[in-house]
Subunit: 342 residues, 2 copies
Amino acid sequence: MPELSERKKQILANVIDLYIKTGEPVGSKGLIAATGMTCSSATVRNEMNELDSLGFLEQPHTSAGRIPSQKGYRYYVDNLMQDKSVDDLTKRLIDAGISSAVGDPEKLITRSRELLADLTKCACVSTAPVGDATLIRKIELVPVGAHTAMMVLLTSNGILKSRLCRLDSEMSVDVLEKFYNIVQNFFIGRPAGEISPASIQTIAASVDCDYFTILPLMAAVSELAGSTNDSRLILGGSSNLLSLKDYGDRAISLLEFLNKKEPLNDVINSSNGLLDVRIGTENRYKQLEDSSVIVSKYSVNGDNTGTISIIGPTRMDYETIIPSVRYLSDLVGKLITQALEE
Amino acid sequence: MPELSERKKQILANVIDLYIKTGEPVGSKGLIAATGMTCSSATVRNEMNELDSLGFLEQPHTSAGRIPSQKGYRYYVDNLMQDKSVDDLTKRLIDAGISSAVGDPEKLITRSRELLADLTKCACVSTAPVGDATLIRKIELVPVGAHTAMMVLLTSNGILKSRLCRLDSEMSVDVLEKFYNIVQNFFIGRPAGEISPASIQTIAASVDCDYFTILPLMAAVSELAGSTNDSRLILGGSSNLLSLKDYGDRAISLLEFLNKKEPLNDVINSSNGLLDVRIGTENRYKQLEDSSVIVSKYSVNGDNTGTISIIGPTRMDYETIIPSVRYLSDLVGKLITQALEE
DNA sequence: TTTAGCACTCTGATTAGTAGAGTGCTAATC
DNA sequence: GATTAGCACTCTACTAATCAGAGTGCTAAA
């Protein structure tokens, strides 16, 4: 990355700030008017020209102002942006917004997602905490009818999974007792990831109990345990993106893209580090080429990690959004850890 | 409602069918070309003119073809549309689509919503079954830490609600036992709607137990019981509406409208009868003036009702969508009832 | 009652013209 | 050598004008 003169840096930063604010290409005169710089427009023009050849700015067409290129945004985020901490008002908004959900992990995540989408006017994606360290805390079988029961599985992350299951034979006290025995001996306290359809079969065969009676229950355990590792990816606030002029018609295909689980999951999961900012084509998907994605990880109990992410136009207000996302995701991690504390 | 001649009825039906198919205003020549009617275009013009003065058709402008008015759609849905049953392919698609979720109420509703949104290319809204007859089936307190526990409440509809709760004192065996006693005596088998913050207080005061220890638990029960009656309104497939030319720019404000819980809830709940079709301004909301809403109720155990609804442009394919919605919602009702059967 | 013929109307697409914003270059100035 | 004023040039966004086409309503004949 070439070293830029102080003035170039300042001009680049100003152009980006102004463009983020107005959405219009920034011209030399307009830049001076908006920032009160002391040099003349011709000087700015010369500098902008060089920033253009260096690839930090680009022109929509010959006689328009400049807009930041992807490289420009990257340089801005890495070097120019003032990495201020979250401002006081936002902090209070966040604290107040999630206060009603502090004790409950699921609610907390939901509220945070909604809140952040509102604050940033972007789409927001949340995932529940998952990890190898997810232990099975409790499995409960709640009878619903003579042949049916709701199976409820609680993990060490406070994530609850449930599923109705049906037995061929009657759900007798005897069956229940045997089931709870197996649960106690083989499942409680074990990592959810260890439970596979194969291991289930072995266990079902090894216990002193009718194989075909207990098998549907074991299968249900296996399914629930498996599903603890799907990360409960949920998208919110996507309609915020619709009214942005940045996207125009392309908002439609963007929304259709975001509504598909698999690619979105891939986008979120391919992030590095605690807080990852990916600009434009740094996201591998064509549909995100004029969007930026900010993924922030939070950790629960030091082991399991979930994410809170923002998806919006490359022309998003990085300077305020990044601190907000970081603050909120830290908070979520801490609060969930605390809620689950002994 | 004035009685129309057979030919007028036929022309009206044909115009609407064609307009639904093409989205373009229908002219006299085009109508004859598309339907193979035997009279001349001049005759059709005369008839259309009368249908126009009667209010069943309207012209976007003087020299364009006709499009159905709201009154026209209403007459079509009530009198002209062939109320065929769902076609074979659709039936198979639906059956196959939900087969993996048959035994589990929550999954079943989710799959149905997604499926119907795909089939109809419209937005689809589902609600879980609720009603005065919703009984509390089970309340379970799953310890998570020394001071915290996950409370799980299961209703007779198979709907599961959960919430983490925190005690000031330790969650001793003694406390748990007393709690389960209260649950058994006061809650199990009772309608969820009966439980109010006031009744909770009375109960907490009346039992032989430390009031301040048991109160947080009682409060949690009250909250969960109260939330069983929120209908879990969920919207899916709304991005389908974006690419429809019917809406143009207005798609944005429509989506923003649909993403708000309260008005959407109102729209769904203000429906009458088992299957309600509301066209354009028959919906009380300005934002729905060029949309139609189809609300179909399903019932579980004969008492509790949920809904599956379609929201799309007034120019939707009523003839195939209505039977699909009806078929699917009946199926959902039956399957949930069956899953919960003794 | 139906139909052929025709004048009329309105839209939507295309073209031409214009004002304005912004640039890059040159030459003068600090 | 860096900065700046001046200017010719370019490109867009907007407006107005034109025109073909689709469709109508009306009249008069069948």
